[in-house]
């Protein structure tokens, strides 16, 4: 009877395509909005994740997220290094000076000052040049998006000059850094250079980044550092979620996206669920005839589930394809890099669609199960 169920489903093309595209658009909307939301949230901590050398970040106890830094004392670095289980710990500066080109174009940038000796935290994905050239005096590595922002329409080229707080520095590398929350140039240089790019403060140590010895987990090390130094120590993953939670709590982003996602779920559920339910109701006469001819209730339930499952699978596949195409076409730019269709969003949307279809199926099945087969004798 499976082919009968599928033919009943596809027989009325208008209803069938209405059903499929209701689910497809619901899928598209959900995947689109949840992926953009998650990607934006991920951008709040993209610079943390780019530092692949370190496992633990140490900061002022009052620090809530990455953009909010209060300088540590220089002696804090030594205190962290003295904690058992620390393989190594180095300093990391983060500041937001203005970068200016010789033509006068300027932009507020995000500068990372790396430990002079080890260059720990340097960008590993380079498009041009080498991060090791940061050892040269007055040198910086800038990310591609920042380069395009400061030198619009010009080819990627090393040796160009930037002026930072009256210091002239040369670009020795162009990195493929992850997009920050705000679209500003990401500039890496040595710690000793970076501190000169901003007005001098009494202390300038933004973070200490550290790695655990073999046999010590990052979580254990972070806890030990916190206990030993009274500083805030977080693993890379914990710090990422700290940032995301901060933005969730303190910005309107989750509310706006949440409303859109909720509307997508409700509208999608109502449209897809209602359409499928009405499809079954309009076919009650046919189900009644099948019942009269001796098709059992379990078989009819199987037919409805097959119809629901196949329409959901096809709609979900089309919707996911539409979402993937959207991200591929519209978000394949420097400014929107990092905003991608994430698998968690696809999974979540699949679960939502499954839920909607199950609810619609249950309502439809109920109508068919209570249907008196004698109804078919009514003209």
């Amino acid at each position: 009877m499976n082919f009968v169920a599928l033919r009943m489903l596809t027989g009325d093309r208008a209803k069938y395509f209405g059903l499929v595209f209701a689910i497809a658009f619901c899928t598209f909307l959900l995947e689109n909005q949840t992926s953009i939301f998650a990607s934006i949230m991920r951008r709040t901590s993209s610079q943390i994740l780019d530092v692949t050398d370190a496992e633990v970040w140490v900061m002022d106890p009052q620090t809530e997220y990455f953009e909010q830094t209060k300088a540590l004392k220089d002696t804090d670095l030594t205190r962290v290094r003295s904690v058992p289980g620390v393989a190594w710990a180095v300093r990391l500066f983060k500041g937001s000076p203005v970068a200016r080109t010789l033509s006068g174009k300027f932009a507020v940038s995000e500068v990372f000052g790396l430990d002079d000796a080890t260059l720990s935290g340097a960008p590993r994905k380079m498009l041009l040049g080498s991060w090791e050239r940061l050892r040269e005096p007055d040198s910086v590595v800038i990310d591609q998006a920042g380069y395009v922002l400061l030198f619009p329409g010009e080819p990627l080229e090393l040796g160009r000059i930037l002026e930072m707080n009256d210091h002239r520095v040369a670009i020795v590398g162009i990195s493929d850094a992850s997009a920050p929350f705000l679209s500003v140039p990401i500039i890496h240089t040595r710690y000793s250079e970076a501190v000169n790019f901003l007005g001098r403060e009494r202390t300038q140590l933004s973070f200490v980044i550290a790695r655990a010895q073999a046999g010590t987990t990052p979580e254990e090390l972070a806890a030990r550092i916190s206990n030993a130094t009274a500083l805030r120590a977080r693993t890379t993953g914990q710090f990422m979620w700290d940032c995301i939670r901060y933005y969730l709590r303190n910005t309107g982003i989750p509310v706006n996206f949440g409303i859109t996602i909720a509307v997508a779920i409700v509208v999608g559920a109502v449209v897809a669920g209602q359409t499928f339910y009405l499809f079954t109701v309009e076919n009650l006469k046919q189900f009644g005839a099948l019942k009269a001819m001796g098709v059992t209730n379990p078989r009819l339930v199987g037919m409805i589930l097959l119809q629901a499952g196949s329409v959901a699978a096809l709609g979900f596949a089309i919707g996911t394809g539409m979402a993937a195409t959207f991200f591929e076409i519209f978000l394949h730019k420097l400014a929107t890099r990092g905003i991608v269709l994430i698998w968690q969003s696809v999974g979540l949307t699949g679960a939502c669609i499954l839920f909607v279809v199950i609810v619609a199926s249950i309502l439809s099945i109920r109508r068919v199960l209570v249907l008196e087969p004698a109804e078919v004798f009514r003209a």
Binding site: G11, L290, A292, M293, G294, F377
Partner: protein, 252 residues
Amino acid sequence: MATTDLAVSCHEVRKHFGEGETRIEALRGVDFSARFGELSFLVGPSGCGKTTLISVIAGLLDRTAGELAVLGTRMDDLSGTRRVLFRRQNVGFVFQQYNLLPALTAAENVAVPLLAAGTSRKEAVDRAKSLLSRLGLGSRTDALPSTLSGGQQQRVAIARSLVHEPRLVVCDEPTAALDHASGEAVMGLLAGNAVQPDRAVIVVTHDTRVFHYAHSIARMDDGRIVDVSRPNGSPRTADRGPTDSSVQEVFA
């Protein structure tokens, strides 16, 4: 009641719908029988209980009271699922509105009872095509119902009611939506294919033009059988009600 030539035997069958003020007595103690090898007509005015009676006989509705035996089986002995299986195996249906599945071809529609019984799709469709050819629709086996005339659709419905070789065929107004020629053709098919020594056909109809096909005509009124006549056989006296009125009077 347990006569071996009786395909259907009803005694004092009652059926009501609803309770209290909304209670409707659809069958008020029906005595009715249909013999193997015969076309038994049920006639009567609208609302007299004809459709309810054939629904009860076919196992589509539960009766409220009375005794009912179909093809030698007491319906009381069948649980819900066994009744469905009994119906699938032994009863064929012809509906006034055909009730063909619009997305299936003529042959696939005819194959549905076989598919419901677990026959493979290929075998079921092959058997359906063979039957349709015998019924004169060999050239339309792959046609969708929407492309068939009313008469052709009803012939497909008749083929569907016969394809699994049921011993009882129940027809509800099979000619009501057809012109005279199509109605004659449909009844001719039923008389020629459904009526076998070990089969019985019950036809509910208002269509006086096809009464000449009937072996027996039971007239219903107000939930009871009020008259039974045998135009193509010996007149048979109903167990209850008047015996000498003509069924034509119903439609006078």
